[in-house]
C-alpha cells in the first residue's frame, strides 16, 4: 500500500510541472489557435536560465523568477521572429508550424553550443533535500515546493485571464480578432502578451522539472512538447482547467506505469491511455460544448 501512496505523491509532483507547461500550451495552441513548436524549447530555455541564475548564487525563488521572466521574453521573441512576421504577410498557420520548428532547432543548437550536450544539474540545496517519512511514504520538501509553486502559478493565470483587462482582451481576441478590433483591443499586442504568459509558464515548468529530476539538457524540451500537446488534447483544446487536470493525470499515469509495469513502457502506456480516453471522449475529458475556450 505504501508503494501506491508513494506513487501518488510522485505523480502529483510530476503532474504539477506538466500542468504548468500545458497551461501555456493551451493558451497558444487552443486559445490563439497558433501552432508553436518552439514551446518545448522555451521550457528548456527556462531550465537553463534558472540553472545559470542559481549558479550565480541567486536564491531559488529569484532563480525561478529569472526562469519565469526569461521564458516569457523568449516567448515574445518567438512571436516577434516567427508569428508576427507571418501574420503581416498573411501566412498560413502550417507555415508557423514549420517556422517555429526551425526556431526550436536553432534554440536547441544554441543551447548545445553554449552549455554543451552534457546533462547538467542544479547546485545541491540542503534545505530542499529535507524529506519526511510518513507511514512508509517519503515526501521531499522539494516536491512540496514544486506543487505549491505550480498551484500558485495556476491561480495567477486564472486570475489574469478571468479578472484582468489583459485577460479579457486575450479571451476577446481568441473569440474573434475582428470583435477585438471593434472594441479597441490592440490584437498584435494582446497576442504578444499571450506569448509572454505561455513562455513564462514554460520557463517556470522547465526549472521545476529540472529540479525535480535534477537533470537539465538541451533536448529536454522535445519530449515535453509532445507531452504538452497530449495533455491539452486530453483536457480539451483551449481549456485551462482541463490542461491542469490533464497534466496531473499524465503525471500519475506515468509514475504508476513505471512502478507497476515497466519504465520502458512509461510513454507507451501514457499515450496509449490517452488515446483510449479520446476514443470515448473525442473533444477531451473536460470540454463543454459551449464553453470550450479559456
Amino acid at each position: 500500500m505504501s508503494t501506491f501512496f508513494q506513487q501518488v505523491v510522485n505523480g502529483i509532483s510530476l503532474g504539477s510541472t506538466y500542468a504548468v507547461f500545458a497551461m501555456g500550451c493551451t493558451l497558444i495552441f487552443g486559445v490563439l489557435n497558433i501552432v508553436n513548436m518552439a514551446q518545448g524549447a522555451l521550457f528548456m530555455g527556462g531550465a537553463y536560465l534558472g540553472l545559470e541564475a542559481a549558479r550565480l548564487g541567486l536564491p531559488a525563488p529569484l532563480a525561478l523568477v529569472v526562469a519565469l521572466l526569461g521564458g516569457g521574453v523568449l516567448g515574445v521573441l518567438s512571436d516577434l521572429i516567427v508569428f508576427r512576421t507571418l501574420r503581416a504577410r498573411g501566412g498560413h498557420r502550417w507555415m508557423g508550424l514549420v517556422a517555429s520548428l526551425a526556431l526550436a532547432r536553432v534554440m536547441v543548437g544554441l543551447a548545445q553550443e553554449i552549455f554543451g550536450t552534457q546533462v547538467q544539474r542544479y547546485p545541491p540545496s540542503a534545505f530542499l533535500s529535507i524529506a519526511w517519512e510518513i507511514g512508509g511514504v517519503r515526501i521531499q520538501l522539494l516536491q512540496v515546493v514544486i506543487v505549491v509553486v505550480s498551484v500558485v502559478l495556476m491561480a495567477l493565470l486564472a486570475i489574469t485571464l478571468q479578472r484582468s483587462s489583459t485577460g479579457r482582451a486575450i479571451r476577446t481576441v481568441a473569440f474573434s480578432e475582428d470583435v477585438a478590433r471593434i472594441v479597441g483591443v490592440p490584437v498584435g499586442r494582446t497576442i504578444m502578451a499571450t506569448f509572454f504568459l505561455a513562455g513564462a509558464l514554460a520557463g517556470a515548468a522547465g526549472m521545476l522539472l529540472g529540479n525535480l529530476f535534477n537533470v537539465v539538457s538541451p533536448f529536454m524540451g522535445d519530449q515535453m512538447l509532445v507531452k504538452g500537446l497530449t495533455v491539452i488534447i486530453l483536457g480539451g483544446l483551449g481549456n485551462v482547467p482541463g490542461a491542469v487536470a490533464g497534466g496531473f493525470l499524465l503525471g500519475l499515469i506515468e509514475v504508476f506505469s513505471v512502478a507497476y509495469v515497466s519504465s520502458s513502457f512509461r510513454d507507451a502506456i501514457g499515450f496509449g491511455l490517452i488515446f483510449l480516453i479520446l476514443l470515448v471522449k473525442p473533444t477531451g475529458l473536460f470540454s463543454r460544448v459551449e464553453d470550450r475556450r479559456a
Partner: protein
Amino acid sequence: MLEVRNLRAGYGAVDVLEGISLSVPTGACVCLLGANGAGKTTTLSAICGLIPASSGEILLEGREIRRLRMETVVRRGVSLVPEGRRVVANMTVEDNLLVGAYTRGDDQVGSDLEAVYRRFGRLHQRRKQLAGSMSGGEQQMLAIGRALMARPRLLLLDEPSMGLAPQVVNDIFRTIREINEAGTTVLLVEQNARKALSVASYGYVLETGRISFEGSADTLLKSSQVVEAYLGDAS
C-alpha cells in the same frame, strides 16, 4: 463631428464605395439607408478603421482619422455597434461590457458599468451569464452597452434592428433616441428606413457605392423615390 469626403473603400482590389461624402453634425442623429450590398457596412467599417480606405478624407472634429487603426479611432471617441451584434458569446455579460472599456484608463469605468445596468435592467439580471445564451434583443442591448462603455462621442450603429421582433425593435430605437438626446452623436445604418427616419433628423441614401439622395428626415419621408424604394411595403 464627422466629415467624410470622397471616400473610396472596399475589400481587396475592388472598391465598394465609389467616392461618398457625408456629414454628421455634433449632437445629431443621421441615418444611412440603402438596400443590401449598397455599401452601408463598408462605409461604417472604413470610418472606424476596421478596413482601410483607398482614398478620400475622414475628419473627426476636423482631424484626419483615415489612416488610423481602429484601436486609435476608439480612443478618439468613435464606437461601433457592429452588424449581427458580435458579442463575445463565451464571455459573461459583465466581461463583455468591461472589455468595451478596454481603451480607457480612467477610474470611472465602474460607475459607467452601473449606468449601463440602469439603462438595460436585463443586462444587470444576466450579468453573470454567458452572452451567447441570451436572446437576440438582449445581445443587441449588450452590443450597445459595450460600445457605450468606451464613452463614445460618436456612436456608429450597423443594422440594430436586424432579426429582432417588432416590440424589441421599438425598445432598441427608443434607446438610440435616448442615447442621442443625452448628447452622443449617432450615425445609424438601417434597412428599416421608416424606423431609422423616426429617430434621425437627416438621412443619406446609398445605392451601389454612391450617395443617390440626401435630405432631412421629412424630405426623405415625402420623396417618392425613397418611399418607393425603401418604404414601400415596410411596416
